[in-house]
Amino acid sequence: MPVDRPPLHRDVPAVAPEQRAAQHLAFIRETMAQSATFTAVPGWGVVAMGVIGLLGMGYDLTTPHFSTLAWLLTAVTAGGVGGAALYRKAVQLGVPLASGAGRKYVLGLVPALLAGACLTWAVGRLPEPAYVSATVNLLPGLWLLLYGVALLTAGMFSVPVIPAVGTGFMALAVVAFLVPPLWQVLLLGLGFGGLHLVLGLYIVRRYGG
């Protein structure tokens, strides 16, 4: 008789029924959480962000003091509109933002956006010649890159078009690092305006406004 196995007591269940039931419920919950995707991305909200982004193209970053502030104001306005639309659609669909895929989506967005805010603040603290140079040459690419990273990360828990657009933002960022300042403003508009418009209209058509 093997000595490395405990004796079998077939009449006694190894786990009590209620414990096993709790394990089954936990398994169901975990599986649902892993497979859930966040579908409450607001189509019209993203379109509105795109329109605001296109308006931002009017601010020429080669006059850094005024334009950086104007672009930041644009970003805050677009973020506010997008955030409000996201909340509204989530409430309409009954999708919680504080748990499950909604929470993962929001938590995916935040770190890269915070990193962008921190770096912008750091650039703003640079002494005059370095500040102008960094604003003109770095900020547009940096904003596009980190926003792309935010979308790519959050998109892992949402519909496939979101990470695809995130990759588009990152590609624009790479181009922005290579072209002269005036072109960088156009790329900002193309990204925050054009890509948002395309994304928003796609979401409206495919998943509803």
């Binding site: 599986t31 649902m32 995707t37």
Partner: protein, 120 residues
Amino acid sequence: MADKPRIQRAQTRRRAATTDVFPVALDKLIHERVRLGIVSALAATDALAFNDLKALLSLTDGNLSVHARKLEDAGYVACRKSFEGRTPRTEYSLTEAGRAALETYLAQMEQIIDLARGHE
């Protein structure tokens, strides 16, 4: 080959042990862990592609096919086959019957827990 009856007896004992543990009659079709995983995963989303479902539940192609077919035959899961370019794509979604079965199963699990609490 002489071991076959012994294996069958062991499988029968195992099945009996699984069902006898619970004081309520469960839907055996979704009580099985892989099928429960498939139904749970599909309950949280509109549809899932074969490969996504396979990766999510860490299954092999054959294992997922067999269990998904059983659920499909029972009307719990709908299967849609299409082509993406030249690549075939199989997508599964939960039917109303499947969702109702999962809800019943969830209610039964909660009932078992409540019963145990009642005895304490």
